[in-house]
Symmetry: C2
Subunit: 454 residues, 2 copies
Amino acid sequence: MNSKEREFDREKIGSIIRAKDVQGAELYLKELPLSERARLLSRLNEADREQLFGLLDAEFSAEIIQSLGEAQSIEILESVDADLAARVIDLVPSDDQADLLSGVDHEVAEQILAAMSPEEAVDARELMKYPWDTAGGMMVTEYLAYRETTTVRDVADDMRSNRDRYANFDIQYVYVIDAEDRLLGVLRLRDLVLARQDERVVTLMIRNPVSVIVTAGLHDLYQLFANHSFLGLPVIGHRGELLGVLERSAVEESMSEEATENYLKVAGLQGNEELRSMALFTRSRRRLSWLSINIVLNVIAASVIAVNQDVLAKVTVLAVFLPIISDMSGCSGNQAIGVSVRELTLGLVKPKELRRVFFKELGVGLMNGFFLGLLVAAAGAIWQSNLWFGAVVGVALMLNTVVAVLIGGLVPLILKRFNMDPALASGPILTTITDMCGFFFVLFFASQILEKLV
Amino acid sequence: MNSKEREFDREKIGSIIRAKDVQGAELYLKELPLSERARLLSRLNEADREQLFGLLDAEFSAEIIQSLGEAQSIEILESVDADLAARVIDLVPSDDQADLLSGVDHEVAEQILAAMSPEEAVDARELMKYPWDTAGGMMVTEYLAYRETTTVRDVADDMRSNRDRYANFDIQYVYVIDAEDRLLGVLRLRDLVLARQDERVVTLMIRNPVSVIVTAGLHDLYQLFANHSFLGLPVIGHRGELLGVLERSAVEESMSEEATENYLKVAGLQGNEELRSMALFTRSRRRLSWLSINIVLNVIAASVIAVNQDVLAKVTVLAVFLPIISDMSGCSGNQAIGVSVRELTLGLVKPKELRRVFFKELGVGLMNGFFLGLLVAAAGAIWQSNLWFGAVVGVALMLNTVVAVLIGGLVPLILKRFNMDPALASGPILTTITDMCGFFFVLFFASQILEKLV
């Protein structure tokens, strides 16, 4: 807890790099708080960054890479020499290896794999085959497995003689396998503490342990861990052979990544994996892809105003209320989307339960629509000294609030039913429809009682 | 992995509840997939839910409560009898006890605490004193600690005789304390496997182990765990006495909770902790609190249109472009907010680095503004067969895109500097300012060349 809020010193690090001061570089980085290390690396240009990593030993470089966010790690691995990247990747845990190599550009990944130590490269290629959201994509291959005839003393001897290699293993369990690597049983480390030295693991182990198949999906795995208190589970192949260990934390991390991604999509914040250290053109292009879709939808919505211009020409003040009604309905609808996406993620609602969501949202829509409509009606009526004017904008907002919460509540369910991503597409669909409806309500009601408004 | 996608059967569970079928209830719930359990519980009315929990033993009830999301657990604990709630809470781990008790209504919490077993209640009250984002608020009090003179054999004997009580402890380390409970050292469980039975823990332990003070904050703790590979750290009080154990997973979970909350706030999705099983009035009120603020900001922004009505009266078609420009600028600005909030959370940018963010955003704003502005200008010019009209709407959108990304990029930094929550306040500030600027640009430019547009 003695990491003071030290900031990095650009000149200091610059002179360390120029002097190729190996010890100085390691010492300097070790003393920086973690977030300052990340910030420093995001500020160096590619040449300096490569030289700096050249000064560090691979172990410390691997530690740094693991402490950074994935987007930043990938950016760095892509920019440094493939040999350097390979030495670093050799040292990170197997599940991170696969994630990082899948994240970098395909050609870069091949170069790094070619430069890695052959066994590590084979393992990494193996893990890269599995999608990130399956047991294979989340498992680690660092585990302890012994044949059934092994004694407790043998296990302790093995652990003693491989102390260094096992140092970073997260050992909770010891696995027992047969001559063909098939999983037979599992022992908790604490059971080894309690056992006699000459006992064989086969007599201590829990037989037929719960295991997961390498292709099992994230949501099933999450349920399994939520239902039971396992810290880790063995992952087996189709022959029953032990392939790796899936840790609870890896599953929880993946679920929370998925949830965060969903929220980002609901918010239309896809630009979010952006780092300001990326090139201007990249950052601009990433953001434009979403903006371009949005502008088309906006034009579609605004066409409702375009075809009703004659009403606006007579009652120009209505133009003041169009953006208010569009924005307020968007907010109401987004709240409903947020609730539906969350309930879908947690499994609290099924995609087919449209009726339930319809009535639940109808209630909220009527109450909030009534309240907001009354507010806007009062403001409009008082400002324009015209009750009819207030009625037009108030009723329009009321109706459109109901429309917005219904669409916001139902669209995620419908998209999910057709196997589309509810988080990504619901927002744009919502705002386009509610804008069109809102503009229509205002201008249509106004056109019906035009003589009362002028 | 054999949990089929079974759905709950409302009639079946209804008849189990009416028949007070204790075995049937447990069997039925155990066979349901986790998400179906959650959905079932969210569909039962309070009376049925209370009767159902009355049929289950406390241990299974505790398991169910832990498998639900926090919002749903709290809803259930508030609705069942305090004695039942107390029996359940007695059985969940200490850090969850404190979280749940802090989450329920204050009066309900007192009733539950009064009904809990006295030792558990004292522990829970102790933990409730610590804010959720400190070491004290995240630690568990389930750990193994032994005096320095204890031998490895004694430890194994103690573990053997308390096998049941320790069954759910997440034992990675064993702690060594002096007669006044002060922390002296720590042993990894695997070191016990490797040790001789008659060795004393004092000779095996790592002295002066890294520990954290009970008041340490989430961000410092996250850095500490990110910098080192500890699975858990001892938490000490100001005298150096051992108070609990902080697990890596608890810190990571809290950080991800904080990040999710931030994204929800950026998106204005505060209605998100809502469950549709809550009462209509509650759901409506939760959503209205945010909508009410939003409507005031909307009225402020729309006032710019109100004071420039004379321009609109002459060129009504401008009203078609006002919502487009407002919405597009909002999108561009929100992207910049997303990037800034994320960079602030990861520590990649300091609140004082306004200059850097200004120039980084200026680049993107100019590029995207130019592209979007050109698009809208072309559309406007062709539609109205008037180059001047295209120029007005195009330049307005271009300038306003620059304004939007600058505000979106900078406001989070400024709010952070004044110790305000950047995620919560940035969005409303952004849309209000960009709406005002956007409306102003369109109507002001139009007023300057009015004769060319009519």
